[in-house]
C-alpha cells in the first residue's frame, strides 16, 4: 500500500484509509469480532489510516477501534471527530464547537480509544452558534497539550474554512487540516484543494503554521448516512 501526504505539513497516510463508522451503526447488524478482524487485517495490508467519530454508535465505534488497535498504536494513523452531539440513546443533540465542549469531547474520545493522543482530530460539522475563533483556538490548545497532532474540519465550505484560518488569532494552530466532503454534485473538493497552497497567519506566537488538506470524497451518496 502506497502512502500519500495529506496536505503539506507532514501527515503521511496510507493512500486508502478505512472508514469504521459502519462497523457500529447505520449499515445493519453489528459483528464486533469481524469488525475487529477487519481493522487488524487492514493494518496487515498497510491500510493504517483509520477514521472514526464520537458520534458513531454513538460512542461505541471509538471503543471498538480502541480494542482493535490495542498494542498496535504505533502502526496506526488515528482520526476521529467531535461536534455531532449525541445522547446515550442515540438522540441527536445538535452541533457544538464551544471551547468547553471541544476539550470535554477530546478527553472522552481519548478515553474510549484508549490512546494518549489522536493523530487527526477534526470537527464533524460547522457550529453556527460558536465563533470560529473559539473552536479553532480550543483545538489549538489540544495540540499544545499534546492530545492531538493535526486538526481538521469536515463538511465545511471552502469559504468557512478560509474564514477560520484567516480569522484565527487565538493560540497557534501548529498544524491544521482541512477536510472537505466532496460530491459529484457540489464540487467542493477542488476549491478546498486549490486554496491549500495559500499561507495562513494563525501563528501569533511564532509557531510554525501550516495546513494540511484532505478530501473525503463520496460518490455513493445514497449510502452515506451522517
Amino acid at each position: 500500500m502506497k502512502t500519500r501526504m495529506l496536505g503539506s505539513v507532514g501527515l503521511v497516510v496510507s493512500e486508502l484509509g478505512l472508514g469504521c463508522m459502519g462497523m457500529s451503526e447505520f449499515y445493519g447488524p453489528r459483528d464486533d469480532s469481524e469488525a475487529i478482524a477487519t481493522i487488524r487485517r487492514a493494518l496487515e495490508l498497510g491500510v493504517t489510516f483509520l477514521d472514526t467519530a464520537d458520534a458513531y454508535g454513538p460512542f461505541t465505534n471509538e471503543r471498538l477501534v480502541g480494542r482493535a488497535i490495542e498494542g498496535r498504536r504505533d502502526q496506526v494513523v488515528l482520526a476521529t471527530k467531535f461536534g455531532n452531539v449525541r445522547g446515550s440513546n442515540g438522540e441527536r443533540l445538535g452541533i457544538r464547537g464551544d471551547r468547553d465542549y471541544v476539550h470535554q469531547a477530546c478527553d472522552a474520545s481519548l478515553e474510549r480509544l484508549g490512546v494518549d493522543s489522536i493523530d487527526l482530530y477534526y470537527q464533524h460539522r460547522v457550529d453556527r452558534n460558536t465563533p470560529i475563533e473559539e473552536t479553532v483556538g480550543a483545538m489549538a490548545e489540544l495540540v499544545s497539550a499534546g492530545k492531538v497532532s493535526y486538526l481538521g474540519f469536515s463538511e465545511a465550505s471552502p469559504e468557512t474554512i478560509r474564514a477560520r484560518m484567516w480569522s484565527t488569532r487565538s493560540p497557534p494552530c501548529r498544524r491544521s487540516i482541512r477536510s472537505g466532503h466532496a460530491t459529484r454534485r457540489t464540487r467542493s473538493c477542488r476549491p478546498c484543494a486549490s486554496w491549500g497552497s495559500a499561507s495562513s497567519p494563525t501563528a501569533r506566537s511564532g509557531a510554525a503554521s501550516s495546513r494540511v488538506r484532505s478530501a473525503h470524497l463520496t460518490i455513493s451518496q445514497r449510502r452515506f448516512p451522517p
Binding site: V13, D31, R185
Partner: protein, 80 residues
Amino acid sequence: MRAIADEKDATASQLALAWVLSRGDDVVPIPGTKRRRYLEENVAAAEVELTRAEIEDIESVFPMGATAGERYADMSSVGL
C-alpha cells in the same frame, strides 16, 4: 460503470475507488466496510490504474450532477 470495470477485470466499486484516487495525490479516500472480504477488495482497487481514456469513459457515463437521491437527512448542516 460495470462494463468499464469488466474490461479492467475489476468491480464497479473498485473502479470508483480507482477514480477517486486518480483525482490527485492530495486525495485520500476512506471507504468504509465492516468485513475483511470488502476490505481486501478495496485494497486491490489501489492497484487499478486508469488510463486517460478510461477516466474520460467514466466521466461520460457518470458526469458531474449525475448522482441521485440525498446524501443524508441532515444535509442542512453540510457546506456551511
